[in-house]
Amino acid sequence: MTPLQQMLTKITIEVHNSATIKDPADLDRKFSEIGIDSLDAMSVMLEVMERFDIQIPNDDVTKLTTLNELAGFVEAELVRLGRKV
């Protein structure tokens, strides 16, 4: 996993320590498939926004359904802001 993927995995497990993230393939599984329900997903999104100091617009939140999709968004946002990924 990349450092960004590792960080997002860490955040997800902090939010719900029973989340099933054992190998890279899990990063492409839907949140609900790795044990993250809709409310936990909200917490993950908020933690990501706060840890990376970025905004995830509401319209984008609903489109980010896997950790890899979230990683892609975070990476693009950091690049846009001229910050190190």
Binding site: D37, S38, L39, M42, S43, M45, L46, M49, E50, N58, V61
Partner: protein
């Protein structure tokens, strides 16, 4: 000094079970109990108006006091779902149904989940500045009027209820409200909106707002008062959902014993959720300082201290 003397309430007997909606909304029992925290939502009868809920809360208030409530100087209803189209104001309708004196001041306050705290501050100042000694603050905001039963975001959460808080200004004692802090993020108001008579809520936006603004305000309120978290006996947070209350407790590092929950049997009752939790705690001699925090539609939030007077 104006103080809270007693609180009456009315929760309609109608109920919708969230367990009966499991298949419809793809839920399991664990989500209902441990995340939402709402097993049933209360629903008023179709022929009950907002003012009727207030009248029943007032009857409960009088029953708890064991006497008639005489000489009400001011009557306020906090609601965003008034009787009819809101004209006349619901507080005037309640005044008429209770047969109160024509010298009684009545007005409505249009606020939701932050409404109880805003209303306490408004009424405290109104009574003090006008030499009034007996006020009744009603909260009654039946969201069942505007909920879409097919909307998972709202149909599982919001319940109907009303409360009546008796505010007196004499030397008897009770709970003194204050100091207060308030906040508004009007540009984000679209997160919780009545659109063409139907409630719409962006859960992520409301969650983000609540989880970020409330801890900041709570800490600021305590700092302004020269107090710490340990100086507070109870933290009563608006019962938006079990998840948001748990999130706030975690973010503020509060022990669970100081953060009670009360939404399983009726749901999120908007501005009634805080007085419903206060109601049976007013006579607990072990509590001396309670912090209230309400947050929601607006987006609006407010926090205050309640201090027991001798």
């Amino acid at each position: 000094m104006t103080y809270i003397a007693a609180i009456g309430s009315y929760i309609p007997s109608g109920r919708e079970s969230n367990y009966s909606k499991k298949d419809k909304f793809s839920l399991d029992d664990d989500f209902i109990v441990r995340k939402l925290g709402v097993e049933e939502v209360s629903r008023k009868a179709s022929d009950e108006e907002t003012s009727d809920l207030c009248v029943k809360a007032f009857a409960d208030l009088a029953a708890r006091l064991g006497r008639r409530i005489e000489a009400v100087d001011c009557l306020v209803v906090c609601t965003q779902n008034p009787d009819g189209a809101g004209l006349p104001h619901t507080s005037a309708i309640v005044h008429g149904k209770l047969g109160l004196s024509p010298r009684c001041a009545c007005f409505d306050i249009s606020l939701g989940c932050s409404g109880y705290i805003y209303s306490l501050s408004i009424l405290k100042s109104f009574m003090r500045d006008n030499g009034l000694s007996c006020g009744v603050l009603f909260t009654a905001d039946p969201y069942s009027k505007i909920i879409n039963p097919d909307d998972k975001n709202t149909a599982l959460l919001f319940g109907d209820a009303a409360t009546a808080t008796l505010l007196l200004d004499d030397s008897s004692g009770g709970w003194a409200p204050g100091p207060f802090l308030f906040g508004t993020r009007g540009k984000d108001g679209g997160a919780l909106v009545n659109r063409n008579g139907v409630l719409h809520m962006n859960g992520q936006a409301v969650f983000n707002f609540s989880a970020t603004e409330v801890p900041v305000q709570v800490n600021a309120l305590l700092k302004n008062a020269g107090l710490g978290l340990d100086d507070i006996d109870l933290f009563l947070f608006h019962q938006g959902s079990k998840y948001i209350v748990d999130t706030l407790a975690r973010r503020l590092s509060l022990p669970a014993v100081k953060v009670p929950l009360n939404l399983s049997g009726q749901g999120n009752t908007i501005s009634s959720s805080l007085p419903l939790m206060l109601q049976d705690r007013l006579d607990d001699i072990h509590q001396r300082r309670i912090l209230l925090s309400g947050f929601g539609v607006g987006l609006s939030w407010a926090s205050c201290l309640l201090v027991r007077l001798q």
